[in-house]
Each structure stands twice: as structure tokens, then as C-alpha cells.
């Protein structure tokens, strides 16, 4: 899941927010080689400019993370730390190209026989089958019984969008935009945005984060499921919940599944961190596979941005699990039509890299090692930060830092404390107190820990 925590509403048409705009550059009338352009001509003739038919289109709200990144970039302080980024960083604060990706990329570039025609609308077949296999496991009953299908998509967002469009058109009646869609509170901003953009009108939240306990609010979650209308859609984070880093345990998942089954609720998993969370592909896919084994029909949106470090090639997959092959076939035929009017054909490069890696035992082994390298670094940063805060005697408990999983941690810092960190300490993080563990390095740990300590002791 990418970093798109937007400040405000999801519906662009709802954003008629007035006219305070960021810097608007001056027009360079009459300068440069294009002097005598249309505007200059109009000005020379003393005519009024015709008004734009889009004159009342306001500036849409910028995305918060981008602003944070921009502020960070412009901050000259040498101590500055960015804990707001949405991507992996090495211990030197650098992006990391996975060695296996580099290797496969070279292999693809030297393949003269490669055909650069459009991919099929549903995507590269070997990518789709391998991606779904990774999610569901080699001996998934659904794969054996040939009742799964896949659609290659533009990252996890694209997978959510195709799934959402399909559900709006064909689930719980025809074109039933009123089916309630439940997303966790809090969640990744795009969950609201994508389902809203796909036309759903009733997007609700379910209890998830217990701020006092700094952990999962299981009772609240189960209660919301009990109270949800039958056939509601529940968006579930497969692992490494964004932004809280808090996942249900297997026993808790079992309870969740049992209520969902009894209440006829539809699970739509978002799996953006498989392998990246624990370092183990199977462990991170436990929840999805458990639901499949329990006989659920479900969707699973997969992103390969994080676990392949392929953020900019937009590699995603939507796995469909149905009761039987015939159902899946019909679902896929409708998804093909949906893709045609979204982007028509998906891009190939990222899918080729992932498919080549997953289908070769040698590359696959190497990839698993690369993924573990990233996961292990995050785990060690969690342990280091916690031990430092405990050593400093920072008020509060800090075990949640190591109990949380994945790239993000919900620190429990208040908005004021966050402001203090940004303004006084040049440490950039989201107002929610979410930090990206990858922003921590062996070099800045001490500084970050003492700064957090200071923020908590000085600011209430």
C-alpha cells in the first residue's frame, strides 16, 4: 500500500473548497521564442480573456505524505529524519533495489526475442498464476479444485479498484451501490477512496485500534461484524495492518471468520506486505489461507511494491476465490470488461520481473532471502527503539513497538508531540503518530529515541 494519506475527503467533486491556492507562477507574456502567443495577442488587442469553461474547478487537496516529504527535503538541518516515507530504506537511508530484481531485470533486457505487444487485458498469465499461488499456498484446495482466478492490476490500488467495481456491479444484487463496505478504523486512506470512487455510497468503519491498550480492539471488531447487515463487504488487512502494525492472532482470526461466516459477510483482503512483515511468506498469508480453507468466497488484492521493492512498476494482482470454477469464470469475464474501461491493458515490466522470479527455483530462493533481509532490519529497529525508550525511562509502555509488525508502527504519540518532533527535532512523521520503521537507522536511533523521550516528557 502506497503512502497516500490524504488530508481530506475522498470525493473530488466534494472538494469545492474555495480559492486559496498555492503559488501560481506569473505568465511570461511577450518573452521567449513564443512571444506573440494567444495571450499576448489578446492583451495587445486590449480584449478581455475569454473565461475558461472550467473556471469553477478548485484546487484539490494535496496528499499529506507528499507535503511531509517536501518539507523534509527542504529542511537544511543535518539531524533531520524522515519517518513518514512509505517505502523501504537501508541502514544508510537509501532505497534498496533487491539483488534478485537487478538480476532478473538484466535477463529481461538481454532477451531479444521478447515481444512487446499488448499484454492480454487480464494480464500476463504466468504472473497471475504465480502471484495467486504465492497468496494461497502451493497446496491450496482452491487451486487444486480450479476455482481461483486472477487479474493483473496496477499495484494494490488497482486490485482494490477492479474488485470494488466488480462488487458494485454484480454483488448483492445488480448495481447495488448501497451494500455497506466496512473498513478498519483507522485504515489506509485509499480504502475509503477506492470504494467511494467505484460508486459505493455506504462506507463505514469497524473498530480496530484500541488507543488505550495500544492494541487490537477485538470485542469492538466482532461486535461491528455482528451488527453489520448481511452480505456487507469487509476490507481486511491480510497482515501488517496499515497504519497500526497490529494484526489479529490466529485464534482471533478464527473468531473473526466464524462471525463472518455466520453473518454472510464478504471478506476482501488487502495483502500488501506478504513476506515483508515477518520475513516468512507462509506466515504472513496465514489469515487469507485460513479463510480459503474455511470455504469462504473472497477477493485478495496483492501488491508486490513492498516485497519486491518494485514501487514504480505498479505490480498488483487480484485473486478471486469462488465456490467452483464456473463461478470464477463468469466473474473473470466481467472483470475483463471492467479493466477495459479502466486502463485496457496492464504494463508488462513489473509483472515480468515478478513472474520470472517466482517461477524459477533459484530466483525464488534468492528473493526469499532478500525479503528476509528487509524484514529482519525492520524487526531489529523495533527492538532497538523499544530498548532505548525503556532504558531512557520514557513514560508509558513500549512493548507495542515490538509487538506490532510490518513497516509501520503506531507509536501512540499525540498530535502535539508529533508537532514538537517536527518543529523542534526535525523528525518528520504523520500527525497520527505513525512511523515507518525503515526511517530508523543505526545512526539515528539514539537521536530519535531521545527526541521521542523529550517530546513525551515535555509535551502533554
Amino acid at each position: 500500500m502506497a503512502e497516500r494519506d490524504s488530508l481530506l475527503p475522498t470525493k473530488p467533486s466534494a472538494q469545492r473548497l474555495g480559492h486559496d491556492k498555492p503559488s501560481v507562477k506569473d505568465f511570461r507574456i511577450g518573452t521567449g521564442p513564443g512571444a506573440g502567443g494567444f495571450r499576448a495577442l489578446v492583451a495587445a488587442l486590449g480584449l478581455a480573456m475569454p473565461s475558461s469553461i472550467f473556471a469553477d474547478v478548485p484546487q484539490a487537496q494535496p496528499v499529506l505524505v507528499f507535503k511531509l516529504t517536501a518539507d523534509f527535503r527542504e529542511d537544511p538541518d543535518p539531524r533531520k529524519v524522515n519517518l513518514g516515507v512509505g517505502a523501504y530504506r537501508t541502514d544508510d537511508c537509501q532505497p534498496w533495489v533487491l539483488p534478485v530484481v537487478r538480476k532478473v531485470e538484466h535477463q529481461i533486457a538481454s532477451n531479444d526475442a521478447l515481444n512487446h505487444e499488448y499484454l492480454p487485458i487480464l494480464g500476463l498469465p504466468e504472473f497471475r498464476s504465480n502471484a495467486s499461488r504465492i497468496a494461497l499456498g502451493d497446496d491450496s484446495p482452491a487451486i487444486k479444485e480450479k476455482r481461483i482466478g486472477s487479474v493483473q492490476t496496477l499495484g494494490g490500488t488497482g486490485a482494490l479498484r477492479v474488485g470494488a467495481e466488480f462488487l458494485r456491479k454484480w454483488y448483492n444484487g445488480t448495481n447495488n451501490a448501497a451494500t455497506p463496505v466496512y473498513v478498519s478504523s483507522p485504515t489506509w486512506e485509499n480504502h475509503n477512496g477506492v470504494f467511494g470512487a467505484a460508486g459505493f455510497t455506504d462506507i463505514r468503519t469497524y473498530h480496530y485500534w484500541d488507543a488505550a491498550k495500544r492494541g487490537l480492539d477485538l470485542q469492538g471488531l466482532l461486535q461491528d461484524m455482528e451488527n453489520a447487515p448481511e452480505f456487507s463487504i469487509f476490507v481486511l488487512h491480510a497482515c501488517a495492518h496499515n497504519p497500526t502494525g497490529t494484526d489479529p492472532t490466529p485464534e482471533q482470526w478464527e473468531k473473526i471468520a466464524s462471525v463472518m461466516k455466520r453473518r454472510f459477510l464478504f471478506p476482501f483482503f488487502d495483502s500488501a506486505y506478504q513476506g515483508f512483515a515477518s520475513g516468512d511468506l507462509d506466515k504472513d498469508a496465514w489469515a487469507v489461507r485460513y479463510f480459503v480453507n474455511e470455504g469462504f468466497e473472497l477477493f485478495c488484492a496483492q501488491s508486490f511494491s513492498k516485497n519486491f521493492g518494485l514501487y514504480n512498476e505498479r505490480v498488483g494482482n487480484l485473486t478471486v476465490v469462488g465456490k467452483d470454477g464456473d463461478n470464477v469464470l463468469r466473474v473473470l469475464s466481467q472483470m475483463e470488461k471492467i479493466v477495459r474501461v479502466l486502463w485496457s491493458n496492464p504494463p508488462a515490466q513489473g509483472a515480468r520481473i515478478v513472474a520470472t522470479t517466482l517461477s524459477s527455483p533459484e530466483h525464488f530462493t534468492m528473493w526469499k532471502e532478500n525479503v528476509k533481509t528487509m524484514a529482519d532490519r525492520i524487526l531489529s529497529m523495533r527492538a532497538e527503539l523499544r530498548s532505548r525508550l525503556e532504558a531512557l525511562g520514557t513514560p508509558g509502555t513500549w512493548n507495542h513497538i515490538t509487538e506490532q509488525i510490518g513497516m509501520f508502527s503506531f507509536t501512540g504519540l499525540t498530535t502535539k508531540q508529533v508537532e514538537y518532533l517536527i518543529n523542534e527535532k526535525h523528525i518528520y512523521l504523520l500527525p497520527s503518530g505513525r512511523i515507518n520503521m525503515c526511517g530508523l537507522t543505526t545512526k539515528n536511533l539514539d537521536y530519535v529515541a531521545t527526541s521521542i523521550h523529550e517530546a513525551i516528557t515535555k509535551v502533554q
Binding site: 475558461s52 478548485p58 477512496g193 452480505f231
Partner: protein, 447 residues
């Protein structure tokens, strides 16, 4: 758990794309020829790739400084800049006045989708979009999904055997004020300057919103600059418009889906506002666009040597297409095929109308294993030295077997301008499949 699937009532969507190709692939006749590819083919019957592209791909794969970080939401800025310059020209007043920009999209379809979503929310006017038949299936479905009514108009006159871009006057005159008109590949329009001036005036008066669709810039004349003269004329006339820009054919990288939605606005402020809204639509469809294709194009277009190389290979392909036109015409002449074949060389671009009847097309497909869409519009790059004789002989045979050959003649009066609201069936709402009617069926797109 319900024992029944929640997907029980989902109907199977019939396959609308690729039926002709399926039939071709199943055909085991050794002489079979497929003339309906969308992509530009080489004489060796593989998709054309300018030699500079694999070279650049290799270079990029070995660039140690490259990382796979997310592109900004609206895409690779450098790419948008070179693509915009290629479209409107480096010295365009819109560039000087800082009122043209773009959003990097997933191919041409992504650009149409993004533009259509914006127009749905922000364009005040009748929900009517005018499209050419060749765009109808792809773009028509998108606009229809966004709630627009589709009306189609055609330049190809099957009676006079010529493209008549003057028909655009009729379209604009008949269109309700503030309609949206999609102009496909304006490079192929043949109209004297005076007429363009007049057309622009009418469009301005009726506040027509233009949505250009530039698919193969450079494929008409071999020169990307020359191909876009008309679009640039509209820029100088102070129009605000959208342009979907697709790089698939001109760089041969169909599989990287490289597109742009170019916005020409009236002011920098308007541009910023429109772009920020477009970003928010993209955010919930694909988040940010894929990088590789745009990096290749940016590398080539911003390096003078590579750019020259690309333009040269593009010119080579276009010259070859022109030569093929001459050859086909000449072969038919030597065979004494009835009818006039001048229209073959009078058209330009990669695809052309053969000008034969539906029955004759059917004869070619079923009897001669030559696969042509029902419109008779075929891809010239699919013709090569190995198959040209067979193709010419088969056309000759089809003409002799079924009536007269193409002959320019006066059209029946009722057919001059028929603009009917199309019934493109949206999947999942009413029925299935795509229905065409009347003249629309006759002029149906190449797909």
C-alpha cells in the same frame, strides 16, 4: 455460510475482443494472413520496435543509479515535459504561457478514462460525446461508463471511396452547444487552412469541447511535428482542450502502456486546478503510473542523437507503408481487377479502408483465409513480399466472384450525415455485448 455462491447470478460476458484473431489462430491453412493487427508489424511478421528502443532498455537496465521508488502521483515530470513538447511543439504559446501540462497515464485508454471522469464531474453541457467509429468500442465504452451518450461520425465515405474530413462541419453544426467532440489522429485530416479557420470559429461559437486522441504521432507523415499541425493551430486559437496521447505504436512498446492526458488550459491557475483534480481520480485507480516506458521515451526524446535515430526509423516505416500502398494498387491494376483502386494510395497512416463490400470481406475470410475486419479496414504493415501476391490475387478473386469492384459513386441521400445515439451496451446494466445499427454497423471500427 450460504451453500450457494454469491456469484451465482453473475452472467458470462461474451468475448467481444479478439474473435477474428481466435479464428485466425485456429485456422490451419498455410496461406492464412491476418490483416487486422492493431500493432505495426515488420516484414518478418513481428511487431516493429525502433532499434533505439532495445538499446535504451539495455542502458536503463544497467543504470546503477536507478531505483524503483514511486513516481509522483501525476507521473514522471521529465516525461510529461518531453511528451508535451512533442505534441504542441517546443515553442508553443501554451508552453511559454505555462498553461499546458499533463498527467502521465496507463496508455491512451487510461488518458481517456481520466479525462472522461473529469468531464463527468466538471463539464457543464449536454452529456453527449462525438466519436469516430474506430474509437467507438474502446473509448465509447469508457464514455458510456461515465454516463455520456455516444454519437458517432465518420470521415470515410464508403460511396466516394475517400476520407472527407469536411464532414466535421456537419458534425459540429448538428451538435448541441457545449458538446464534446473526440478528434482521432488530427494528423490525418486534409483540410485547407481556410476551412480550419472557419471550423475553429464554429467550434468556438458553439463552445465545443475538443478531446484530441493522438495515437500514432509520426505515423501519418513520418514527421511527428507535421502530424500535429492542426492540434497546434487550435492551441494558437486559444482553445482549452484535452488530448490523450499514446506512444504504443511510435515506440513499439505496446506492453508498457505509455500514455499522457495533456491539458491545454487558458491559464496557469486553471491548469493547476484541473491537474490537481485529475491526480485525485488517478489516486484511486492506479495510485501512480508505471515507470519503465516513460523512462525509455524520456531518454530517447531528450537526447538529440537518440531522437534523430528514432525519427529516422519512424520515417523508414512510414515510407515502407507508402510503398506497400503503391504495390497493392499496382498488383491489382496488373491483374485487371475491376474498379478504381486510387483510394488505396490516397489514404495515409497504418490502417486503411480497402473499400470492398461486406460480402467481399466475408469471401476473403472464409474462402481465402485472409482475415480482415468487417469494415474492410486493414493494417498495411501486415502486408509483405511473402504474402502480397496472394493477397492481391485473392482480392481480385473476391471482386470477380461477388459483383463489381470499388467504384466511386453518389451516396443515397439519406445517408449523408446520420448521427444516431449508439446503443453500446454497458456490461452489467442492461444486456450483453455490443450492438451496432444502421450505417454505424457498416462503418464499424476495425476491431
Amino acid at each position: 455460510m450460504p451453500t450457494l455462491s454469491v456469484f451465482l447470478d453473475v452472467p458470462l460476458a461474451p468475448k467481444t475482443v479478439g474473435k477474428l484473431l481466435d479464428d485466425f489462430q485456429k485456422d490451419d491453412n498455410p496461406n492464412k494472413v491476418y490483416l487486422a493487427y492493431e500493432v505495426c508489424m515488420t516484414v518478418n511478421e513481428v511487431p516493429w520496435l525502433p532499434p533505439v528502443v532495445p538499446k535504451t532498455l539495455m542502458k536503463l537496465a544497467h543504470d546503477p543509479s536507478h531505483s524503483y521508488e514511486y513516481l509522483p502521483e501525476h507521473g514522471l515530470e521529465a516525461f510529461i515535459r518531453v511528451a508535451t513538447e512533442l505534441l504542441v511543439g517546443q515553442h508553443s504559446p501554451a508552453i511559454v504561457e505555462n498553461r499546458v501540462g499533463g498527467v502521465h497515464t496507463i496508455g491512451g485508454s487510461g488518458a481517456i478514462r481520466l479525462g472522461a471522469m473529469f468531464l463527468k464531474d466538471w463539464h457543464r453541457g449536454p452529456r453527449v460525446v462525438y466519436l469516430q467509429p474506430s474509437q467507438k468500442e474502446q473509448h465509447g465504452l469508457i464514455f458510456q461508463e461515465m454516463g455520456f451518450i455516444i454519437r458517432e461520425y465518420a470521415f470515410w465515405d464508403p460511396y466516394r471511396l475517400a476520407s472527407d474530413t469536411g464532414k466535421l462541419f456537419d458534425v459540429v453544426e448538428h451538435a448541441p452547444e457545449r458538446s464534446i467532440v473526440v478528434l482521432y489522429n488530427p494528423g490525418s485530416f486534409i483540410l485547407p487552412r481556410k476551412k480550419w479557420t472557419k471550423l475553429a470559429k464554429v467550434m468556438k461559437r458553439k463552445q465545443i469541447f475538443l478531446f484530441f486522441d493522438v495515437l500514432d504521432q509520426g505515423f501519418i507523415s513520418g514527421d511527428p511535428d507535421r502530424d500535429n499541425k492542426i492540434l497546434r493551430y487550435f492551441v494558437t486559437q486559444g482553445f482549452e482542450f484535452f488530448c490523450s496521447q499514446c506512444f504504443s505504436s511510435s515506440f513499439g512498446l505496446y506492453d508498457e502502456c505509455i500514455g499522457n492526458l495533456i491539458v491545454v488550459a487558458l491559464s496557469n491557475k486553471a491548469l493547476l486546478h484541473i491537474r490537481s483534480q485529475l491526480d485525485s481520480y488517478a489516486r484511486y485507480m492506479w495510485c501512480s503510473p508505471p515507470a519503465l516506458g516513460s523512462r525509455v521515451i524520456t531518454t530517447i526524446l531528450s537526447n538529440p542523437a537518440l531522437r534523430r535515430e528514432w525519427k529516422k526509423s519512424l520515417r523508414g516505416v512510414v515510407e515502407n507503408i507508402m510503398l506497400t500502398r503503391e504495390k497493392v494498387k499496382e498488383k491489382l491494376r496488373l491483374l485487371g481487377t475491376p474498379g478504381s483502386w486510387e483510394h488505396i494510395t490516397e489514404q495515409d497512416g497504418m490502417h486503411s479502408f480497402l473499400g470492398i463490400s461486406v460480402d467481399q470481406v466475408d469471401y476473403l475470410v472464409t474462402k481465402k483465409h485472409i482475415y480482415i475486419p468487417k469494415t474492410g479496414q486493414f493494417n498495411l504493415t501486415c502486408i509483405n513480399n511473402q504474402n502480397i501476391d496472394y493477397i492481391a490475387q485473392s482480392i481480385n478473386e473476391a471482386i470477380l466472384a461477388i459483383g463489381l469492384g470499388p467504384q466511386p459513386r453518389e451516396p443515397p441521400t439519406t445517408d449523408s450525415v446520420v448521427l444516431e445515439d449508439s446503443e453500446l451496451h454497458i456490461p452489467g446494466l442492461k444486456g450483453e455485448g455490443t450492438k451496432f445499427s444502421g450505417l454505424a454497423a457498416l462503418l464499424r471500427s476495425k476491431k
